[in-house]
Amino acid sequence: MRSLGIGFVAAATAAAVGFLIVPALILGAPLEPVMGLVQKIFYFHVPCATMLFLSTFVCAGGSIAYLFKGSEAGDRVAASAGELAVLFGLCTLVTGPLWGRKAWGVWWQWDARLTSALLLELIMIAYLLARRYGGPAGRKLSAALGLFAALDVPLVYKSVDIWRTVHPQTTVVPSLDPRMRPAFWSAFALILLVWTVLFMVRLRLERARAELASLRLDVEDMLEIG
């Protein structure tokens, strides 16, 4: 496996430093008057949800390239992004109920936002399962699931505006108090950086696995000839 390069080392270092600085900024941000301290979950919950959307779109892009052009590179991109979608979806679906339990008094509500987000996570888990256990057609089946997942993303995002839900609306971030913005955007930049680093490493691993599989076939051929 080739070296990951200076860019990766710089990004990983910046992410490590960010994990020291961003919590301090979040603690320094003013308290929300209605929800109080528990609102601070927002600073990581929203970036994680955004990374779930980003991963799903990247996965769908790779899936389109694989399904319609037979691109192996597209398939590797989709596989890497699919795994990150499950990871960040899990972070979103765990931190949300922790916030909801204090703010709404319940862990879960079957409203449009929460249900569609859970559905998206389940589709992405199905994507990984189809890839791993789907047999020879597994990669094509999972690519189709990746496309379905991308169709669910706009529904998850707009659900709070279309239907009446207990979840805050999409206007929360644009109308954020100016004193809360540095903490929010620094947390967002940190999570985006972490996503980028993880995606780079995961993609490299996927490439190395493909290389290894191809080399194995060559060695088997060579041993047969020998």
Binding site: V38, I41, L87, W99, R101, M222
Partner: protein, 98 residues
């Protein structure tokens, strides 16, 4: 006589219900009263454990994923080294190269 007994039997149930309601009425009234808090007001659900659990989960999940990735990279490196060893061995014997 038979009809009178039936009437008597039917009359018992409503009478007992009314008496039971009369007896329970003060208790029900007390249960619906608001009571003044004595001493400082305590919050039922403190926010700190929820915030700590949320941040802790994100950290642990990311760390676990990094460990999984590192294990995957380690396995691939080991397999590549084994394959390279086999290729070198074959080359030493004068066999074909991949």
């Amino acid at each position: 006589m038979k009809n009178r007994n039936r009437w008597w039997g039917r009359g018992w149930l409503p009478a007992i219900s009314v008496l039971a309601l009369l007896a329970l009425a003060p208790a029900l009234a007390v249960a619906q009263e608001f009571q003044k808090v004595s001493g400082p007001l305590r919050e039922e659900l403190p926010a700190t454990p929820f915030v700590a659990a949320a941040y802790g989960f994100i950290w642990i999940a990311l760390l676990a994923y990094v460990v999984l990735l590192a294990r995957g990279v380690g396995r691939v490196r080991k397999d590549l080294a084994e394959l390279r060893g086999k290729i070198a061995e074959q080359a030493d014997r004068g066999g074909p190269r991949p």
